[in-house]
């Protein structure tokens, strides 16, 4: 066991992160498990790097303030002490946040069965969303320019209900996100394929799934019997 694995194990135990998610209801052979694309970690790292760069810039600006010549020496001393503390915290946080980013990338499951999907993500803030295809209203694929360069896209699956902002960016509820996948088209096609069975509005009616009403097959049986009867009467 490498050191990284050992730390990972310890963190997961300490944070009481449950093991892999259970597969939701659905035919066993239909289960497909997707994960975030390899480049998703690169994308996370870009965001993480930008955030850290912004913090570092702020700290540098605060440090520059201490060079103002008119500053009383006591104020300068306090300023510098606070600055040193902030820099220390910042430096200490870098490996921790890096590790959490890495775990966040690894601990992602997008599970699709023929009836439902379950998306689990997060390490410190864990969330697991479960939806049935019967309730899904809309599928959206989006990617920003950098994500496209990295060959990534996000597939958003929405159920009925409001809560969007004007830009169509949903907040927490009503949406399952396949974040940072590198096979968005395949996932989209799979979801569309599995949605095809449902012809209702997905708002609480009983699901209509039988491709042919039972009365029709019963009528066919009557027809068949009648024909057979005629045949045997013909040879009578």
């Amino acid at each position: 066991m490498t050191l990284v694995e050992w730390v990972k194990d310890a963190v997961l135990r300490l944070a009481r992160v449950p093991a892999d998610p259970h597969v939701p209801e659905g035919a066993e052979e239909s289960v497909r498990v997707f994960n975030a694309g390899r480049n998703y970690f690169t994308w996370r790292m870009i965001l993480w790097g930008l955030g850290n760069a912004a913090t570092a810039l702020g700290l540098a600006a605060a440090f520059a303030v201490s060079f103002i010549p008119t500053l009383p020496s006591l104020v300068r001393a306090i300023w510098l002490a606070v600055e040193a503390g902030a820099v220390g915290l910042f430096v200490a946080s870098i490996p921790i946040t890096y590790f959490l980013q890495r775990l966040n990338y690894e601990m992602r499951w997008y599970i699709v069965t023929d009836r439902s999907l379950r998306i689990r993500s997060g390490v410190v803030w864990l969330q697991e969303i479960t939806m049935t295809f019967a309730n899904i209203q809309e599928i959206r694929v989006n990617a920003n320019p950098i994500e496209r360069l990295l060959g990534l896209a996000n597939v958003d699956v929405r159920s009925a209900g409001g809560g969007d902002t004007a830009h169509g960016e949903a907040s927490s509820g009503h949406v399952g996100k396949f974040a940072g996948v590198d096979n968005a088209e395949a996932i989209r096609d799979l979801l569309v394929e599995r949605l095809r069975v449902y012809r209702d509005s997905g708002l609480g009616e009983r699901t209509i799934e039988a491709p042919e009403p039972l009365s029709l097959s019963a009528a066919r049986e009557v027809l068949q019997e009648t024909k057979a009867l005629r045949n045997s009467l013909a040879t009578y």
Binding site: E25, I129, N135, H174, G204, R206, A219
Partner: protein
């Protein structure tokens, strides 16, 4: 003939779920920590959470969930299992240490936040699975089914025809 098929909501609720009325005690611990984390807002947050915990009542029946809480502003939420749109199971580090998780239930009403949040369940994952099993679209539900009266009559006619044919084809004495 099979008895008419009724919707899944008529299936009995497991007794350990019917028995749930109150959130578990560790929820109060969590609320205390949450109030402390609210810092200067503690004097406002703590009483709210205190009374929320102590007045929180759940009821799970065959059709749905009732949840009520509040002392000054009384709140009661009723929700049908079949109208559940999606279920979120969320927890942060502190909650997991206390063995807690929030089950956020969404319906198709127009709010972005959860329509009902079940807190302090004894077995959050088990509860989630139970609710999920009551959601529509989870299991096969054929329209009509054996309850279709036209199909039943037609099958009976087919049976009669089969009988006539058997009589016709019977070797004559």
């Amino acid at each position: 003939m099979n008895p008419p098929q009724i919707g899944m909501s008529a299936a009995p609720i497991p007794p350990h779920i019917v028995a749930i009325e109150r959130p578990r005690e560790s929820l109060m611990t969590y609320y205390v920590l949450k109030a402390i984390a609210a810092n200067v807002a503690f004097p406002f947050v703590f009483p709210y959470l205190y009374f929320r915990y102590h007045t929180m009542r759940y009821r799970f029946d065959t059709d749905g969930i009732h949840m009520k809480w509040g002392i000054i502003f009384r709140r009661e939420v009723l929700l049908n299992y079949s109208r559940i749109q999606d279920i979120h199971l969320r927890s942060n580090l502190i909650e997991r240490w206390l063995g807690l998780a929030r089950i956020e239930i969404q319906t198709a009403s127009g709010s972005a936040s959860a329509n009902m949040t079940l807190e302090g369940m004894e077995d959050p994952e088990g509860m989630r699975d139970f609710l999920y099993s009551r959601m529509r679209g989870t299991r096969e539900e054929k329209a009509g089914g054996a309850a279709d009266p036209v199909a039943a009559v037609l099958l009976e006619i087919a049976g009669e025809l089969r009988g006539i044919r058997a009589l016709v084809e019977r070797p004559r004495a």
